[in-house]
Symmetry: C2
Subunit: 159 residues, 2 copies
């Protein structure tokens, strides 16, 4: 069991590089919620014709005031638009983010299904993963998914 195991080998010298990684994580967090909201708002508008605060709260599992707060932040940041007591709309910026988020969501889900993760677990994990993929990783993931599909179904592909 004497592999290379860990080799953490921390350069206390240049901690800046490592610090930058964590900085990205922290930055991502604030974007994550925006993406979840915006994606859900897009879905609601498509299926219901409008996005109401009360539906968002139910679907997100948080209280109405919480949604209200966040919507106001998202409005300040230019993702959504809404007038008091009216339903919520996406700005162009918001729509772009929603579309992007949805693409990533589909891709991650497709990948997870392809490697054999059960549907419900895939749904849950995708929700967490989709916010942490760079464009390049997304590309590689798409190619890997294709490769795996071909490899597994080379004789006969089910589904």
């Amino acid at each position: 069991m004497a592999e290379d195991r860990d080799m953490p080998v921390i350069d206390l010298q240049d901690s800046g590089k490592r610090a930058a990684l964590f900085e990205r994580i922290r930055r991502d967090h604030s974007v994550e919620i925006a993406e979840d909201y915006v994606e859900l708002i897009a879905d609601l508008i498509e299926t219901n014709g409008e996005a109401r605060l009360v539906d968002l709260a139910d679907l997100l599992g948080v209280s109405r005031p919480t949604v209200n707060n966040t919507i106001q932040r998202l409005q300040k940041e230019g993702y959504v638009e809404s007038k008091p007591y009216r339903s919520i709309f996406l700005t162009d910026k918001g729509r772009a983010v929603a579309e992007h988020a949805r693409q990533r969501h589909h891709m991650v889900l497709d990948f997870l299904h392809t490697i054999g993760v059960p549907a419900d677990i895939a749904e849950a994990d995708a929700e967490g993963l989709e916010h942490h993929l760079s464009e390049q990783t997304l590309d590689c993931l798409a190619r890997a998914t294709e490769a795996l599909k071909k490899a597994s179904g080379h004789g006969d592909n089910q589904s």
Copy 2:
């Protein structure tokens, strides 16, 4: 490319299921930081013999008081132990979490390398992804990595 595309199809009926997914995300967030700290503390102890607050702060890219706050929370939650003005130690619980986190980190990194993500991008993405993988997905990911390695190098491709 006219696939099934979106099909959001929101069940306003049972929003509980969807809400549970987001609840998991929120819960994960509080665990994420704990994992990052604990993993880093383990690395520091291995390489330096001890984990000092000042090194953690530098490596994480946050201020010393911030680390101090978090360490105190982690102590309350039973991950670490430290007496005032002394360096930081892991509890058994903390060591277990660190080991688990490290395994996941390695696995994610191995996978990302295998699908051709450049090393520096893989490092950055792994940092975000590793906290959002269920055990089952981790298993599937390990198998997929093996499959891809075999597939790409089955004749004798270089590296």
